[in-house]
């Protein structure tokens, strides 16, 4: 239905977007396969005890991270859910949304500032244990960082699950005189258990593909994951055959986990902005109130700690000197420029796919249905081909062309745009589809199309989700370390790359200052986008 030409141009734009994404992924695979064929013995030679240890560690840290994030999250979410009037509840939930927008390297720096060998807590910890605090490197550091990121995420997801319970169930529970234990057993737990595989699976996937945390907090060969091993094979050992082996294994691993999660019915693309409504009052005894308060406060301290440490350590750095450094300016400008391009591309891809999917949904042919499902659910692939995998493929492909470092800006923009796209789609698609549903016929009847339709009808409805998607994509790109770690050089430096360099040369103060700058940049952005969207939503 509706005008054929509009429909076809929308579908065409969607197909072009898909082709661009396919080219990015295909190029990476072409690089990997060509290199694998060229040096087959090298590829198989990489299977050794070291590799087995890396795989084991990759899975083990992800499993521990998931368990340590998800189980406490159940209790934090329940505590928050039972106290809709908890003082500062909105602030706590806002704080719990923060790690999602915070670059991993900033969090890593915060954790080092707090728990590192010279961290703020080193002295008290040495005093308690009686031996000099060795610093939180290795598995411990990785776990703390992963829990810092994923405990709040899991809490919000559980809370969202609890909020889907109809109010009448709570009323019924209190009418029947259910105590806290009975309520948990009969109402809360069944709901959370249904959400558990999805949430645990998501956290597990995020931890398997985590790069920055393991790179900065992992300690040597004993605490290395596949992703970091890929990076080391390419940038330090100059052993592309090994990198190919690692990369292919990483893909196999994630595909297996994805399939397993698919069986569990997990939805593996997190939502960029969850709405968490508060619930009607429930009568709660004083004992439980104390317990819940303790749980929430503990989680709060855990999440706020590294953030505070980032701020304090950053302020302790010589910010004036840093601000005067040409390299810092250069890196900041490069970061912002690339992030803006990346966010534009990401939102554009997301919009064209959402709109093509919608146009196809109106047709009832088989081909349309196939394309529709690809455009609609193809988002999960991002976790299967994380930035490092894409980057490694292209790095190997371009290795002999002399274009590796020249390609850095293109790679950062393209890879991060595609990585942020599922989030952008999540933000844009519901609003887009709802607006289309409402307005399609009226627009067709009034002859509203092209620019007029965009300006008068679509843009006002999509402004807010666009802003959300844009900010998220930009924050993701600003914080990217995976791609730039591979492609970065003295000529193309972003803030995270500069930060990593300073950290590598033990200029910890500089690194802390840069982390504060980067963190503020990302948060300001998300804040502005949120404001912008809200103002126009009225």
């Amino acid at each position: 239905m509706i005008s054929r030409s509009t429909m076809n141009s929308r579908v065409l734009a969607g197909i072009l977007s898909m082709m661009a994404i396919a080219a990015l992924i295909g190029g990476a695979f072409a690089g990997l396969i060509a290199e694998g064929i060229r040096d087959l013995s090298g590829v198989f030679g990489a299977f050794d005890a070291y590799l087995a240890r890396i795989i084991w560690f990759t899975l083990w840290q992800a499993l521990l991270s998931a368990v340590l994030s998800v189980i406490p999250a159940i209790f934090v979410a329940r505590a928050l859910s039972r106290h809709p009037g908890f003082p500062g509840r909105a602030f706590i939930l806002g704080l719990f949304a923060l790690p999602l927008a915070l670059p991993a390297i900033v969090a890593a720096l915060g954790i080092l500032a707090l728990l590192g060998r010279a961290g703020y807590l080193a002295a008290p910890l040495s005093g308690i244990s009686g031996v000099a605090w060795p610093g939180i490197y290795g598995l411990g550091g990785i776990l703390v960082a992963h829990v810092f990121f994923n405990l709040p995420l899991a809490t919000r997801l559980f809370l969202e699950a609890l909020d889907t319970l109809p109010t009448d169930q709570w009323r019924l529970a209190s009418q029947l005189g259910m105590g806290p234990v009975a309520t948990f057993r009969l109402i809360e737990w069944p709901t959370m258990r249904a959400a558990l595989p999805g949430i645990a699976g998501l956290v597990f996937m995020l931890c398997i593909t985590s790069f920055t945390i393991v790179l900065t907090l992992g300690g040597g060969p004993a605490a290395t994951t596949l992703e970091v091993a890929i990076y080391q094979a390419l940038r330090f050992d100059f052993d592309p055959a090994r990198a190919v082996t690692f990369t292919l294994l990483q893909i196999v691993l994630t595909v297996i986990v994805m399939l397993a999660l698919g069986r569990l019915g997990a939805d593996v693309a997190p939502d960029a902005n969850l709405s968490v409504a508060s619930r009607k009052s429930v009568r709660i005894g004083p004992m439980e109130t104390v317990l819940n308060t303790a749980i929430v406060l503990t989680a709060l301290v855990f999440v706020a700690g590294p953030i505070m440490a980032t701020v304090v350590a950053g302020l302790g750095a010589d910010l004036v000197r840093l601000a005067g450094e040409a390299a810092v300016w250069q890196a900041t400008m490069t970061s912002i420029f690339l992030a803006v391009l990346s966010a534009c591309l990401s939102v554009g891809l997301a919009w064209s796919l959402a709109s093509a999917r919608r146009a196809l949904a109106d047709r009832r042919s088989k081909a349309a249905r196939f394309l529709e499902s690809v455009a609609g659910t193809g988002a999960g692939f991002v976790l299967v081909v994380p930035p490092i995998v894409l980057g490694a493929g292209w790095f190997v492909l371009l290795r002999h062309s002399g274009l590796v470092f020249a390609a850095a800006p293109v790679m950062v923009v393209a890879v991060n745009a595609v990585m942020a796209m599922p989030f952008a789609i999540r933000a844009i698609r519901p609003a887009h589809d709802a607006a289309a549903e409402r307005n399609e016929k009226l627009c067709a009847q009034l002859g509203l199309s092209g620019w007029n339709r965009w300006k008068l009808i679509d843009w006002p409805a999509l402004r807010r989700p666009f802003a959300t998607g844009f900010a998220f994509a930009m924050a993701l790109s600003l914080g990217d370390l995976g791609v730039i770690a591979l492609f970065g050089s003295d000529s193309v430096q972003t803030l995270p790359y500069l930060l990593l360099g300073r950290l590598g040369s033990y200029r910890t103060d500089d690194a802390a200052g840069l982390a504060l700058l980067l963190g503020l940049l990302c948060l300001t952005l998300v804040f502005i986008a949120d404001r912008f969207g809200r103002e126009h939503a009225r």
Partner: protein
């Protein structure tokens, strides 16, 4: 196109139209008299809305022709057809005020000349929306929202008006008011009106003709008075059941 729209009193004819909706085969072969209100009735899911969507151009038939006046509009886009349609809901853009929502009936880019503005103001007056120009749709009552839709029909000034149960969600008093407005607007503009309703008394009140649809086909068509009575079509009598008595009393 403008010229054609200016010509009042055009009939609508569906010439052996075939259409498939999911598993339902539909076939419409029916003509509507010009400058007349025809009520369209039938059970839910019988294809009433599809019939209007075909005429408005929102659905494309598998075969057959749709004639408005003497012109074959089968392959024309919705905006090109000399047709206005009022839907059950979603007749307005939620973020645009009343004036703009009506103004879109004149210009899809909302570039309105003085004469267009006058037409909008006139239509708002005619539909009793004076003083509510700057309101947003959500600040209006259900009845007022449908008045906005009618005001836009007035500024569009096209000879065919399709109404897909537009007053279905209004209370009895409001519905009566809207029906009155509809009748007076139709009398003034001499539009050909196709009006879907579930209320036999509404049909009896405004329509001269009736088309009864069942299972994707026109089960009966003709002057309205032939429907209400002992001699009415069996399918129609089955459909409205014991309300027949009531409706007959009203007529």
């Amino acid at each position: 196109m403008i010229d054609r729209n200016a010509v009042a009193e055009v009939g609508v004819q569906l010439d052996d139209i075939r259409f498939r909706y999911d598993d339902m085969e539909m076939r419409f072969d029916v003509a509507f008299r010009p400058a007349t209100i025809t009520a369209i009735m039938g059970p839910s899911g019988s294809g009433k809305s599809t019939l209007l969507n075909l005429i408005a151009g929102f659905e494309t038939p598998l075969s057959g022709r749709i004639l408005i006046g003497d012109v074959d509009v089968t392959s024309e886009a919705p905006a090109e057809r000399p047709v206005s349609m009022v839907f059950q809901e979603n007749n307005h853009f939620a973020h645009l005020d009343v004036e703009k929502n009506v103004g879109l009936g004149r210009s899809a880019s909302l570039r309105l000349a003085e004469v267009d503005r006058a037409a909008v103001a006139d239509a708002l007056r005619r539909t009793g929306l004076e003083g509510k120009e700057k309101r947003l749709p959500r600040e209006l009552s259900g009845g007022e929202r449908q008045r906005v839709a009618l005001a836009r029909v007035l500024v569009r000034d096209r000879p065919v008006l399709l109404l897909d149960e537009p007053f279905g969600s209004l209370g009895p008093a409001l519905r009566d008011e809207m029906l009155e407005l509809l009748v007076s607007v139709q009398a003034e503009r001499r539009m050909t009106v196709l009006f879907i309703t579930h209320q036999p008394e509404d049909a009896a009140r405004v329509a001269a003709d009736m088309v009864f649809i069942e299972e994707g086909k026109v089960a009966a068509a003709g002057p309205l008075k032939d429907f209400f009575g002992e001699a009415g079509p069996a399918a129609f009598r089955r459909y409205i059941g014991n309300r027949l008595e009531f409706a007959r009393k009203r007529t």
